[in-house]
Amino acid sequence: MRVKAAILATLMLVSAACSAAAPAPQQSTEADITLSGAPVGITLWHALSGPQQVALDAMVKKFNETNGKGITVSALNQGNYTQLYQKTLGAIQAGALPELAHAYESFVADYMKADVVVDLGAYKDSVKNGLAKASQDDIYKGYYDTNTFPQYGNKLLSWPFTKSLAVMYVNNDVLKEIGKPIPKTWDEFEATALAATKKDSSGKVTRYGFAFNTDASYFNAQVYARGGTLMAADNKTVAWNGKEGLAVLQMYDRMNKNGSGYSPKGFDFQNDLAAGKLAFFLSSTSTLPFIRDLADKAPFSWSIANLPQATTDATKQKTVQFGANVAVFKSTPEKQLASWLFIRWMSDTDQSAQFASTSYYMPVRKTAADSQTLKDYWAKVPQGKQGFDLIQYSSPEPNVRGQQDIRDVIFNMITEVITGKSTPDTAIATAATKSNQILKDAQ
């Protein structure tokens, strides 16, 4: 009796395995279904707060009223990104996932270990529910790259949502006072930052040139901008420990020693820039509303510029693209399709332009720039356009497994240099060894 049952079970398992392994021409059927119009409720967990949450809520409201397919989205804030990630991990254990979640690439890579993320490729290419070729090409290529996961068979596992990029914020008044233009190369940058630095009679610095950023993304952005790469071609070792990465650390070290750079606490650099105590900082384009707020209260002139670059050749300039995406979790075919229809709608030209102008994130499509909505917004906030014009230079950071730990290693490496614990050479060599070990363990 028991033997029979065991054989039966084995047979079932084998046949199941076979059918799974067989090529699946009907793979796209789930993406091609039609919604009956019966009510479908889907939930989106996100980490947006303040004005950006308000902007998203307005979009969701509009979608719920106009989709005509019975779809109702509820968008719920789940704290900051770390808390959202933590909660989603719990929800995976509990089998209580929402239909959609706001996520960074590294989060998606972890969620995939539980195989709970929907491959969006089939939806994107679906004849019935997908995007036409021209429409697909209108979305920036970098946005596809970052959501395509090499260690999961190059599947498209998330979709651009709240995108931004690393840029340089400049206090124009300070530059005007010292009579210098916005620097284009790193040498100019360092000289300008030093010229902007002011000390009082006691030697205490009252105005800094540059605010150090210990976050790995800005180190990565500088490696890109200096012409370097972050990962070896085979994704097995890091590549930021070359001469470009070393140059970043050496610059930090020099600026730390001559007093032109400092380590800000929290969001201080924003207030410092606005108060004329700082000439430059690197940040995401999504910092824009905060600076704008400060400038409204106590006017000063500021702009957003590309990071200084190694080359004047525009096709070779580079910075880091970031901002989070949205992933769809496996549920029912109807809910999955409803989720796709929502994110597809969000990335249409009109919505993309609308959301960009209210949330200060970057539009996901090139044609959004032609919309009147964005033109009106840029007329009011020229810095928004300055950021938009730089999207073309932005490339994603690696999304390999272990990247999250490598970010910690980079963070510590920079801290070691600016606290004088290590020389740039030692720090970068140690950090690279450690990172390669992490990559090896994560294989």
Binding site: L89, D268, T419
Partner: protein
Amino acid sequence: MAAEVIPANVRASSRRRLPVEAIQAWLFLLPAVLILGVFQIFPAIAAFYMSLFKWDVVQGAFRGVGNYTDWLYDNSIRSPDFWRSLSTTFTYVIFTVPLEIAVALVIAYLLFQKMRGRGIYRTVYYLPYVTSFVAAAAVFFWVFHPQYGLINDLLGVVGIGPQRWLDEPDGIFELAASAFGVILPSWLAGPSLALVVISLVTIWHYLGYQIVIFLAGLSNISQEYYEAARLDGANERQIFTRITLPLLSPTTFFVFTVASIGVLRSFDSVYVLTNGFGGPLDTTRTVTLLVFKTAFQQAQFGLGAALAFILTLIILLFTLIQFRVLGPRVNFGE
């Protein structure tokens, strides 16, 4: 006395009523047993189960004690992290508990004497304890701010240069020695300045609570001892060192134990003051923070649970040792 007669009676009657009383007792205990069982003990058992598996987002292969040995000696990345965080945790205890007890004891002793404004003082000292670390952290960022902080301004007045406080990974002895041009070997560097700041904030937070416990302990000391001492012509210092301190030793021991356990398993203070990173340069990463990082930033639930149980064992062991070593020296009065 009458009291001597009744117990015999009661003993006889309670022996007779034992089964009824036992059933009643369990009924009294039922709500607590149920709640603690379902929401504390069952999850602990489940977590122990998780600790025996590779659990990388989802349940993986059975590893037995593999997760435990990884932390203790087996894994070239995990085990140095563990030993370092353990030493950070105990350093945190050493730089927090004795000072906290000393200050609380002195303040409680002063407050115990009738004086003007007692209530106001007591209230002020108690304020931090009722404030969540979330709210307190926002303020302490400013107080210890490297550029704008009040502490640096005050130090500036005495001629000491600005410090980086919560951003300072260098050891405090190292910093002090370097001010005199002495370079200390790394094993003498001491805890990072950041960890010391966290200790100070922890003391700030719990001081009022410990004062109240000491006040309670002081009120338990019979006045007769003081009167006898005074008749013998003892002065105030003698009374404090020969009467108050020894008779207060059970309270001190209690506070010491509770405060040590509190610091060993504390999470909020370090988490909030370092924005969850345990930085700078991991110098404030305590074991609980490492548990959190492993489970919720690396999604290694099995390893995280194993580490949490290692910590629980250490806390148990630490408590037992305290009772063994210090317990017999405590003057329990009678």
